[in-house]
């Protein structure tokens, strides 16, 4: 990302907050006080800051998942599906296995989640790579299938029979350690950060990363220099799905303690938008994910103060992302040097 991009993102945030502020003002509240409550809610005390961290973890992982798929120029909208299936797999291993020490049980659950999510992502990947079936369409559709599959499993074969649609609780040896109680923050946070570091290193400092990036940048050239772009695309999608699966596994192992029907409510969609506003720059992803996490967890604090529900915060987030996706919305060309060239993402829709 260039300097202009950073400033554009900053201005997008300010513009969205400004418009939100006007609405809050019209509703009869003091916008500055409301935003003050928002940031207090996101940072104050164990509960506030812990909730922000708990929301940050899946946002970071799903944003990375989406980023890695766009690196190989595939648009994986199906991270949500991988997240659900990964969560289900982790829950299954979590309550199914007993008498295993935590050192083995926790990694096993994570691997199960990653495998389930990754394999699921290979379906649209194979259709895209070998038959050119539009992956945006198939992944959107397969998300519904994944959610229905997990909903079926949690209601019938794997039901806890407790009346509510959830699996039995996972055993203690499979749980991630919580901290900053009573918030839901857990050691999954460190797993997510570690995965970010590993992914960054892999993408920019290994040949595998070079192959992936080269495939996305120019498949014809890659093939010429001896890279198999089809294989790289499949690999990228597997990693993408696996990250989504791990995000789901961490939600189960760290936050809920079991698989809950329909628990996600669009986590991966938000992650995808985080990746989109980061304009293909992996280093910005944690920053943006953290910012979105602040807004989301702070919404509760603001709700206590203003009686405005969290839909206003969702609207502000949506406006911010909308502004951030527009290029040159704030006409910075004259102020900060010559015309800039955009090097952002390409969708499958731009043929």
């Amino acid at each position: 990302m260039k300097k202009n991009d950073y400033i554009e993102i900053l201005l997008s945030i300010l513009a969205a907050l400004f418009i939100g502020g006007i609405v809050i003002f019209i509703m009869g509240f003091n916008p500055l006080a409301a935003y003050g409550e928002l940031f207090k809610g996101a940072f104050q005390g164990n509960f506030g800051f812990g909730s922000t961290l708990a929301k940050f973890t899946p946002l970071l992982l799903t944003a990375l998942a989406f980023h890695i798929s766009t690196t190989v120029s595939v648009f994986n909208v199906g991270v949500e599906g991988s997240l659900y299936l990964g969560a289900m797999a982790a829950a299954w291993v979590g309550f199914g296995l007993t008498g295993v020490p935590a050192v083995i049980h926790v990694p096993l659950c994570l691997i199960a989640g990653a495998a389930a999510g990754g394999l699921w992502a290979l379906i649209p990947a194979a259709l895209k790579v070998y038959y050119n079936v539009n992956e945006i369409c198939t992944t959107i559709l397969l998300n519904y299938v994944a959610i229905d599959i997990t909903s079926y499993m949690v209601n019938f074969p794997l039901s806890s029979k407790s009346g509510s649609p959830q699996t039995p609780s996972i055993s203690d040896s499979a749980s991630l350690t919580e901290f900053m109680l009573p918030s839901k923050a857990n050691t999954g946070l460190f797993i997510a950060i570690a995965l970010f570091v590993v992914l960054y290193w892999m993408l920019y400092h290994t040949t595998m990363g070079y192959r992936l990036r080269s495939t996305g940048a120019n498949p014809a050239f890659s093939e010429y220099v001896g890279i198999n772009p089809k294989r790289e695309m499949m690999a990228g999608m597997f990693i993408s799905g696996a990250l989504g699966g791990i995000a789901g596994a961490i939600e189960v192992m760290g936050v809920y303690g079991c698989f809950l029907d329909n628990f996600s409510n669009g986590i991966a969609n938000n992650g995808m938008l985080v990746a989109l506003i980061s304009r293909g720059d992996i280093r910005i992803i944690p920053v943006m994910a953290f910012f979105l996490a602040i807004l989301q967890s702070g919404a509760l604090g603001m709700q206590r103060y203003t009686s405005l529900d969290d839909s206003i915060i969702s609207a502000i987030i949506a406006l911010f992302i909308l502004f951030a996706t527009m290029q040159g919305l704030f006409k910075l060309k004259t102020t900060f040097g010559g015309p800039k060239k955009h090097t952002g993402l390409k969708t499958g829709s731009e043929k």
Binding site: M27, F75, L127, Y131, N132, V133, N134, I136, C137, T138, I140, L141, L142, Y144, V145, D148, I149, S151, Y152, N155, F156, N269, M272, L273, L276, I277, D309, S311, I312, S314, A315, I317, A318, L319, I321, L322, T325, M326, Q327, G328, L329, H342, G344, L345, T347, G348, S349, E350, K351
Partner: protein, 309 residues
């Protein structure tokens, strides 16, 4: 099985497919100009809310449809300006607009209609059904041909109107030429920017009608997130029909049929989740099958051409 597959299925298939049909039309027409309009979900949701609110406050379903169209066009224009003027990625804008629509309608539902979750009232004037007294004598005839909602007729008429405009008029030719090769269209003197805006406005009108149908025809209420993926199913139906409205309609009818059969199978104790996922699986299978066959044909053609040469 005879309890499931009977004549009433036809009527409910049409009912269930109509909202998807409007979404399919709205994104078929933009896809012809190479705009993948995933924002149709958001267009429909905002339109659905506007329709209910207008009908509730004015007591007129005609005004409600009009307001829904205006709302649909407004949202479509947001997408159009972001994508065409500010070069925002169409997919990102579409998904963001869906998120914005969800938040805005939820906010308005709380603060204008003072309802949470869903809003329903005696004062909502729905779009009327078309009833022909002469047909209501026989139960079978009545179910097959009578008592359709006005919008269900309009939807079917619009398929052919859209098809005609796309394939038989200069307007359609220009739109399709943008989709085929934007540079060539530009060179041929077509005002690509204007054409894209016009197409997006039409898409907003169609999505607006779909939203109005959803909240004033299909149901008589507004529910938060009531589109619930219907816009995406419209996108899928568009891919199914390869941008052709008539073929896309077949996809919509398939969705509608599975939906109707599914709700009846539920009564037989089959888990609803297993039924609900069928339309999505079938669409993926059909999409794949269409493209696999197309690829086979292409390679066959290439090999025969190579043989002749």
């Amino acid at each position: 099985m005879s309890g499931i597959l009977n004549y009433t299925l036809f009527h409910s298939m049409i009912r269930n497919s109509t909202s998807i049909l409007f979404a399919m039309l709205a994104c078929s027409i933009t896809q012809q100009a190479n705009i993948l309009n995933v924002g149709v979900e958001g267009i429909m949701l905002v339109a659905a809310f506007t329709a209910v609110a207008t009908s509730f406050f004015t007591g007129s379903w005609l005004l409600a449809i009009f307001a829904a169209i205006v709302a649909g066009v407004l949202i479509a224009l947001i997408i159009a300006v972001a994508n065409i003027k500010y070069k925002a990625d169409i997919f990102a804008v579409g998904m963001t607009v869906n998120m914005l629509a969800l938040a805005l309608t939820k906010f308005a539902n709380h603060n204008i209609l003072h309802a949470s979750g869903s809003f329903t009232s005696q004062d909502i004037k729905p779009i009327p059904d078309v009833k022909v007294a002469a047909l209501s004598g026989n139960a079978v005839v009545d179910s097959l041909f009578n008592q359709y909602n006005l919008m269900e007729f309009i939807g079917i008429i619009l398929i052919f109107v859209t098809g005609y405009f796309m394939y038989k008029t200069v307007f359609g030719l220009r739109t399709r030429s943008i989709g085929m090769n934007q540079m060539a269209a530009l060179t041929a003197g077509i005002n690509v920017v204007k054409q894209k805006y016009v197409v997006m406005v039409i898409s907003g009108v169609l999505g607006g009608l779909g939203g109005a149908y959803l909240s004033l025809g299909y149901t008589h209420m507004f529910t938060e997130n009531m589109t619930n993926g219907r816009g995406f199913m419209g996108v899928a139906a568009m891919f199914f029909g390869n941008m052709n409205p008539v073929l896309g309609w077949v996809g919509c009818l398939l969705f509608g049929l599975l939906d109707s059969v599914g709700s009846q199978l539920q009564a037989y104790g089959i888990p609803s989740q297993l039924i609900l996922m069928q339309p999505y699986i079938i669409t993926v299978l059909i999409l794949s099958a269409v493209l696999i066959v197309r690829k086979r044909k292409k390679t066959k053609l290439q090999s025969t051409n190579a043989g002749e040469a």
